[in-house]
Amino acid sequence: MKIKIFYFARLKETLKFSTEDLELPDEALSILKLKALLAQRSDTWHEMLMGKLKVRGAINHELVDDFAEIHDGDEVAFFPPVTGG
């Protein structure tokens, strides 16, 4: 399946990635599995996605938890806890 991933704020800055298109062999996978997959890229990726930042995930503009399933064509986003207002 093909998905699009966005990174925001500290993640975007540290990973030096704001968006990427990813093609995966799986038909569907959880947010947690995608994080684990991306965390293999380097220590920095691991720290950002699995570390103490408490990164949050969204699928198609909807906040989701680690167990939410990602499907073909989805827009996924990872970001730190929000600080607006």
Binding site: F8, A58, F79, P80, T83, G84, G85
Partner: protein, 150 residues
């Protein structure tokens, strides 16, 4: 409902009047204006840069207003949130709510702010003498939001 995420400043008075004059059965408009403070946790703030997630931001703000409308008998609501680089004394956000009676507007306005702070995808980066740093989410905001879950 009016939801705007924008770089430019806004005129709070104009937005309040618009809500107020839209319907002759409006009795109250409660509003919140947030501004950039010059000091944050002891550091002089030179600038504050706001990033957001276009698309999701608007959608989450709309969902918050819809939730407020389902909980209280309010007439309309306006949210304007700025993004980009701001300086001390700049306005950051306006939330304004109109209703027939004041209690509903007070509750809905505070509810919207508490949810905006904890659920809308905005992030703040602060520039001080010490350099730049991303701000951490505050536990007090989480606590404020959770009051409404009772």
């Amino acid at each position: 409902m009016t939801i705007r995420v924008q770089i430019q400043d806004f005129d709070a008075g104009f937005e309040i009047s618009k809500l107020r004059l839209a319907r002759p059965d409006v009795g109250a408009v409660v509003s919140f204006v947030g501004q950039v403070r010059d000091l944050n946790e002891g550091n002089m703030v030179a600038a504050l840069t706001l990033e957001h997630y276009p698309g999701m931001t608007e959608k989450s703000l709309e969902a918050i207003v819809t939730q407020a409308k389902s909980r209280w008998n309010i007439m309309d609501a306006t949210i304007i949130h700025r993004v980009g680089t701001l300086n001390p004394l700049d306005q950051i956000v306006l939330v304004a709510v109109s209703s027939a009676h004041r209690g509903e507007a007070f509750n809905a306005c505070e509810f919207i702010m508490d949810y905006l702070k904890t659920e809308a995808p905005f992030w703040k980066k602060e520039t001080t003498d010490e350099g730049e740093q991303w701000l951490d989410a505050k536990e007090t905001d989480e606590t404020a939001r959770n009051r409404w879950k009772k």
